[in-house]
Symmetry: C2
Subunit: 192 residues, 2 copies
Amino acid sequence: MNFLEERIVKDGIVKEGNILKVDSFLNHQLDVELFDQMGKEWARRFKDVEINKILTIEASGIGIACVAARHFNVPVVFAKKSQSVNLDGEMYTAEVESFTHKNKNQVIVSRKFLNEGDKILIIDDFLANGCALQGLISIINQAGASVSGIGIAVEKGFQTGGQIIRNMGYKLESLAIVDAMDASTGNITFRS
Amino acid sequence: MNFLEERIVKDGIVKEGNILKVDSFLNHQLDVELFDQMGKEWARRFKDVEINKILTIEASGIGIACVAARHFNVPVVFAKKSQSVNLDGEMYTAEVESFTHKNKNQVIVSRKFLNEGDKILIIDDFLANGCALQGLISIINQAGASVSGIGIAVEKGFQTGGQIIRNMGYKLESLAIVDAMDASTGNITFRS
């Protein structure tokens, strides 16, 4: 097991309905030292690809992306999930459906911050069915930018999101891939 | 002018209606090197107070808080703005009204992550009328924790939020206080 898998075993909680709660260190209380380790590991895995910007999505991707960005020396852009009155000018938009919230959101990025030729690393905390990720890829394509890679903290390997993204040829690096969870025992099986 | 005021003059845009757009470096595209400088400066200003946790609010506070937290060696907790199905158990809640979005939100923090005796540093990107900040203080009080200090990136000094907070005796350190803006000339007057 790597450092993130060990932490999930130690502090993650498996709930009925294939829910993995990692809110004590990943997406409500945030362990920024852990995020730094994750950033260092992604920097190692993506050392051979060109990256000039990191794209993530609010809210729980932002902290991970910002701490990780220190290992890439690039700015972060975060996609917003709803129209804000402070966001004027032209935007790229894509519609995504949240696995967690069961609702549809517009994912929005200002055209000012994604440009033709940008080499983008996408960072997010979770990958399940991959709808949010598909929305981010759509926005990158709209901008004429390209996806250099995708760094995910926790992938639910028993859902289809990761496989679809790999089938499409993207370089996807999930630091922990959960292949099975058992709420009755709390056991978590990681892909090796 | 300090480093943040200089950056606001260079890249901030003043719009009609007392709107200051800093989305190219602070709250849409994120300059994490700048956030690191901000964290270092807050660590200097709060070096004499005890802090064991940083509290912020989604979305644009998260990146600043996470990068700043590296200078304090403490975890970050971010308050959520709406009920999520993944947030079970008991929560602290407070109702706040957004200056930007003109709507009311429940601010929510899990009881697991704020405890009696916690010494909290609040970090956020903007302070205007201070409603979000009042909600965070309410939640900290509900938990029996205490506010060690409040670090704000940009305070709109011509609105009442900062004065109310200072009147109540909190140690509030805003890195840039805008006392006036002129949309016709683009001029920004900082408090010295």
